[in-house]
Point group: C2
Chain length 144, copies 2
C-alpha cells in the first residue's frame, strides 16, 4: 500500500495532496460539494467505491477537519463539509475546467447560483490588478 | 495495485484525475511547470521518487499528450510539457492556495512575471460578470 505522505516535499500543494491526493478522495469531495451527499450509502452508490476504502477516506477527512460527522434523528451518520473542506471547490473546478478543455466537454457546467451563468476561473495579479495568463505565472521562494 | 481509471465516473474532473490523479503525478507536473525540470534525474532528485514509479508516470504523461519526449545533442532524454500539460497550472495553483490557507503558508508565492505581484485565483460569472464566491457555485447538468 502506498503511503499518502510526501515527507520530502514542503510546498503547500504537496501538503494539500497529502490530505486529498489519494485515489477517490477528490471524487468523494466532489459529491459532497456539488451533489450535497452526506451519507455513506450515497457516496457508495454514486461512486461504486469499495466500502473499506470509502470508510478510510471518510475517517481521514474527519481526522483532517475536512468533514465533521453527526447523526440524524434516526441515528444515521452524516458527513458534513467544514469550511476547510468547502475550500476545495476551487480544486475541483480547476480539474473540471481542464478536463472540459482537453478531454471531453460535460456532462455538467459549473454555474453562478445568483444568475445561472456559467462561471470561469481566472487568475489576476493582486498588485497590478491585471488578468494573468497561465504562462505568466511563476514561483518565488518566500520562506527559506 | 490500484488502477488509475474511474470507469463509473463520467465527469471532466474524474477524467482529469485519470491522467493526473495517481500518487506523485501532480508533483512531477509541478516541478515541470514551475521548476522547469525536463530530465529524469532532475525529477528523481527533487522528489526522491522511486525510479520505476517515475518512469511509469513520465511514460503515461507522454502517452496522454501532457509531455513530449525529445533528446539533447548529447543524447539525454528530455520531457517537455505540451500546451495540454501546461494547462494544469491552474490545478497546482488551486491546490497551493488551499494549502497556504488551511495548512501552512509557503514556501513559495505564485507571482505575475510581468510585475512580480502575487497572483490570486478567482471565479467570475461569464454571464453577469460578477465575482462569484465559492459557495455560490453549483452544477447544472448539460449532457444527459
Amino acid at each position: 500500500m502506498l503511503g499518502r505522505h510526501y515527507p520530502s516535499q514542503t510546498c503547500s500543494a504537496a501538503g494539500a495532496l497529502e490530505l486529498v491526493g489519494e485515489r477517490w478522495s477528490l471524487l468523494i469531495l466532489r459529491d459532497a460539494l456539488f451533489r450535497r451527499h452526506t451519507r455513506f450509502s450515497e457516496f457508495e452508490r454514486s461512486l461504486g467505491i469499495a466500502p473499506n476504502i470509502l470508510t478510510k477516506r471518510l475517517e481521514n477527512f474527519v481526522a483532517d477537519d475536512l468533514m465533521v460527522v453527526g447523526a440524524t434523528q434516526g441515528g444515521m451518520r452524516e458527513y458534513h463539509l467544514t469550511e476547510k473542506g468547502r475550500g476545495l471547490k476551487s480544486v475541483i473546478i480547476a480539474l473540471n475546467h481542464w478536463g472540459d478543455r482537453w478531454l471531453k466537454q460535460g456532462p455538467v457546467d459549473y454555474v453562478h447560483e445568483g444568475c445561472g451563468g456559467v462561471i470561469k476561473q481566472t487568475i489576476a495579479c493582486d498588485s497590478c490588478g491585471n488578468d494573468v495568463a497561465l504562462d505568466q505565472v511563476s514561483v518565488r521562494r518566500v520562506i527559506a
